[in-house]
Symmetry: C2
Subunit: 433 residues, 2 copies
Amino acid sequence: MFAKRTGQMKRTAVRELLKVAARPEIISFAGGLPAAELFPVSRVSDAVTRVLDHFGGMSLQYGETEGLAGLREWVATQFTKQQLGSRGRGVRAPMRPENVIITSGAQQALDLVGQVLLEEGDRVVVENPTYLALLSAWRPHGVEFVPVRSDANGMRVAELERAFGRHPKLIYLTPNFQNPQGTTLSFERRKQLLRFATECGAGIVEDNPYGDLRYSGESVPHLLTLETNRTFPGPRFDSSSESLATNPHSVIYIGSFSKVLMPGLRVGWVIAAPEVIEKLVQAKQSADLHTNSLGQHIVLDLLTQGYLEEFLPRLKETYRQRRDAMLEALERFFPRDVSWTRPDGGMFLMARLPSVDATALLPHALEQGVAYVPGEEFHLGGEGKNTMRLNFSNARPGQIQIGIERLGALVAENLGVPANSLRRRGQHAPGVH
Amino acid sequence: MFAKRTGQMKRTAVRELLKVAARPEIISFAGGLPAAELFPVSRVSDAVTRVLDHFGGMSLQYGETEGLAGLREWVATQFTKQQLGSRGRGVRAPMRPENVIITSGAQQALDLVGQVLLEEGDRVVVENPTYLALLSAWRPHGVEFVPVRSDANGMRVAELERAFGRHPKLIYLTPNFQNPQGTTLSFERRKQLLRFATECGAGIVEDNPYGDLRYSGESVPHLLTLETNRTFPGPRFDSSSESLATNPHSVIYIGSFSKVLMPGLRVGWVIAAPEVIEKLVQAKQSADLHTNSLGQHIVLDLLTQGYLEEFLPRLKETYRQRRDAMLEALERFFPRDVSWTRPDGGMFLMARLPSVDATALLPHALEQGVAYVPGEEFHLGGEGKNTMRLNFSNARPGQIQIGIERLGALVAENLGVPANSLRRRGQHAPGVH
């Protein structure tokens, strides 16, 4: 009865896990949830009042598939501002509303990009490990995933250059604070990656849901910014000359309000060449007609009121404290032989155990009231069995400390070493694996 | 660069049309828009306040892919109530939450059903004409559409029985107040269709966005109700015995709040066997993770407050007046040789011109400030060039009269007959074509 591709669809362990992890007595490092206690409930309430007063029933009516015009405009303008800010290079090609489609969250953006670009047998480069739901979205198209290892500086682009007989169609990556590792692709590697993509004619999908959540270190320009500056190497862009609106380019950028505002509104976006946006619009029309109107209006209202500038610093400070609490607790409570990544932002880090199977350990962790996602889930080629993804955004520092202490004791027990409650900080090499 | 299936995606004429038709000076019979002036703006405002007070940030957090538990429960219960009410047959198999997935509007339901069930070469029976966005959603799967003619009683099921060498995989239809014709499948034909589907092992997709918008005539049981009553022919259902939860069935029912509440929230649903729901959930997880949380909460709050019982009669009365205004105006202003359907509900009717190409006529109509959708758009096999779909839900009776008068004059001119402003009512045979 079902189509062949349906056999490729599976409930992921993450999904099943999340059900257990949702119990209030569990300290969960498993989900990818923002901190709901920070959501601006009264601001949303005010925004709804303003939206309904101003737009009335039209804010509840069918809308355009491309998305709310004002929101597309905001996304284009905001990206252009970031380009301007990026190492003072100036903007060669500002983004325009026709470079933007609003999607039902970044997940739909990924799904639509796959629908529009991928077909059976296409090779798709991904980091290993990579974002789980990307694999499930694109696997039904019958593509071949080509995993490339990552380290503390993100995807090892040099390995990618050596890896190919046949060229990839697409390269998918999360350059900033990757899910699951929290790592960031270095500036040098970004340039190297763009060179590689140009040489072999591959497209790049730059998935950037966490980019605005930086707690330390210096920001690195977007791949799309680097590419447009390279494609338009002349003096600062003159709006009467050619622009992205008339030039194809190979980077497809995906963004989201889920991590910087609220995920439940399901509002994300794609920035790409207008030819690509046009096809995404056609695919979206069949997928869900348009993104929910009220959610888009609420987001636009909050942005227009300057709420992001007010909220984002607060959010980042909270998450920074939680990240630091987790890093400190790992130092204190995890055995010496365990390493972990030290993200400059985002919501996740990844721990690597010397010899313990993290999937097998999980039921014991749940018994101790602690949840995480076994890293195996995110890996291709059967790797990563000894890794665990730890989310630090959705528990308070005190809880993080308790949870990591319990987890450390469990890991120590499984390694046959004493629980490490006295480990000195700084003994451990930076969490590269 | 694009996948082959992307070549199948096109901007539809309807889409491009809607842009022109949105101008305020145009009397538009083109869209499929509910009347935004009736949307309960202040009720939505109250609902948001209640939801945010009660659920706080959790109403803005990520949610379950299946949909809000309370909303799935409401959909299941409501359907069971309708089964109960349907010709006093009693309910053999009440629907349960595990029979329900909440989708981002009924369009996503259609898209997910296609993803999960259809593959290249599958035959799909559709009414001719049929819902346009169904064709664009399923065409990329490489299916073969088999059109079956319709008349005033809906799909001519007897023709379907004669049409097949190779069995269809799915039969798609809108049994109530079909888009674009407004016709309803008769009770006898529903039974006949179920027999046919059972014999050839085909699934039925029962798309019912307009079912609750009945203005005249007697309601006909859902195909899903008829099938479950047949599958469970024993005495009234005993909750301890087998149910749909343990029995596969072949009808996939699709519903929506877009037409009875507000479309901009993008909340629809599927009722089907749990095995089907499970696969739809997996596909939806990749498609957009979940339907927007706030929209689901608003809908559930309005339903819980009993708002549908209050609003629906008002909505139906308004639309009934508009339907009647259009039927009267057609009688008065359209030439004798034109026929049209006389829907008992919904939002559309279809007019059939004797020899005029409705697509070619459209630019002239727009010049006159009137918009409609050429019926050709909804037809397969190059048929329907002489038909126009007329929406009556989104213009007030006075505007409808003016618009139809202008359109009638234009049609008369093209037929070379005098404008028919004096035509007596009742001369014309019921609008069956």
